[in-house]
Symmetry: C2
Subunit: 257 residues, 2 copies
């Protein structure tokens, strides 16, 4: 592998797997998933396909590397010393992924695809480990570690995916006010559903219009955390504080744009 840390070769700006992945992420961010082509990549890097294929096996590996890089960055932002409760730590990790899918709308679908292609890759254990440590810190019995952490991870991935969906669609409507317009459109669409087939969905259509994504995401996290902490004490009420909505998370005020 090109671990050769040599200096400038032919090009002054050495081509490296790292630079290629970085360019791929930028391309994905600006042009969407279909915007990442080897031709666009060769143009941006001012090179040819052969040079890229020297560092990367194929497009699948390139997508996996881009996904892994973004996830790793999202999980690495943990502030070095923030001795919050395990619940707060879970919220921080989850919010990191949540925000990553907001910044990179292609991430959610890519995560699903990558997990289904190669579940033993690096990205799943990375997330699993970050969440699992906090589950352990919550005092969950060891026999439930796997189940509890999996449930948490599944919720986070599902919710992040949904949010990426909304964010992407809102962006399509235009920046700035796009999000409000998008929620209004969804709300209106739901209100227009068949009353016989979709009574419940119609009933909550109004709640869609003015909910806050982060708050809703964190509320879901707290639902799962409530279920997980209920696993801890076989008897006697839990001494650990029960998760309260937005508890101690003043660090993440909703972006009141």
């Amino acid at each position: 592998m090109a671990t050769r840390t040599g200096r400038s070769q032919r090009r002054t700006d050495a081509l490296s797997r790292e630079r290629i992945v970085e360019a791929a992420v930028e391309l994905l961010d600006t042009s969407g998933e279909s915007g990442l082509t080897f031709r666009a990549l060769t143009e941006r890097l001012a090179t040819g396909p052969g040079a890229i294929y020297w560092h990367v096996a194929n497009k699948t590996e390139l997508l996996d590397a881009a996904t892994d890089a973004v996830v790793a960055a999202a999980l690495a932002v943990r502030p070095s010393e923030s001795p919050g409760s395990p619940q707060d730590e879970v919220r921080a990790v989850a919010l990191g992924l949540f925000e990553a899918t907001e910044e990179h709308p292609w991430l959610a679908a890519q995560l699903a695809t990558q997990l289904s292609r190669n579940p033993s890759g690096t990205v799943a254990p990375r997330i699993f480990e970050s969440l699992g440590r906090q589950v352990r810190a919550l005092g969950v019995p060891e026999g439930h570690w796997f189940t509890a952490t999996s449930a948490l991870m599944h919720y986070v991935l599902g919710a992040a995916g949904q949010n990426a969906a909304n964010t992407g669609s809102a962006r399509a409507l235009g920046p700035g006010t796009g999000r409000a317009e998008f929620l209004d459109a969804v709300s209106t669409a739901w209100e227009g559903l068949d009353p016989g087939d979709y009574p419940f969905t119609r009933a909550v259509a109004g709640q869609v219009r003015d909910h806050d994504d982060r708050e809703q995401f964190l509320a879901g996290i707290d639902l799962v955390l409530t279920g997980i902490t209920a696993l801890s004490p076989p008897r006697e009420a839990s001494p650990a504080e029960k998760p309260s909505r937005r508890g101690g998370a003043g660090r993440y005020p909703p972006p009141d744009e």
Copy 2:
């Protein structure tokens, strides 16, 4: 199947959008996501691309239609008269989707992609409605309906996606015993992770080897249900039974292959 219609000009077996979608689902099931091409479709239906494009706008719409058809079928299997508790109903709906992603390994990634492309399509409200009715039946205050149902849906989608991942990879190893071998491979891979970076993941590697997918999925559902039912009674213990693991769900024995 492609009835060998000699060189008949006008076909007797009418081509319809329904037949095309059906063929697309079969193609996806047998050959995976990359197996669905218009060329393969024209061959299987013994026709040309133009005929298909007359009924379907493009490949994206075809994929959406296939996804929608499969999800609709999965949600339609509700036994007409099964007056179980709301918890049991939630489990039944969730298991329907879970099993659909097992039978159609391409479904999970496709759901994520479709939701991110067009969140106001038919598939999201369909799932949302099925789950939401049970949330309402649980006695959740109306102000929490949207949050609770969303959390449930996100967990189900995330977990189903993960399971499809595992199922797909297990199938690649071969039918029958493939699943046990796959779990063993993942478990071994996790045990081989860096002890400094992945202490938790290594610690639960053993639990991976012999867990049951459905049981784990239902346990996660129950975690979320516990959190949701905790929303119901501002005071006084819930009169409804608290969700117990596998409570009353003897209908779904683990497939002890």
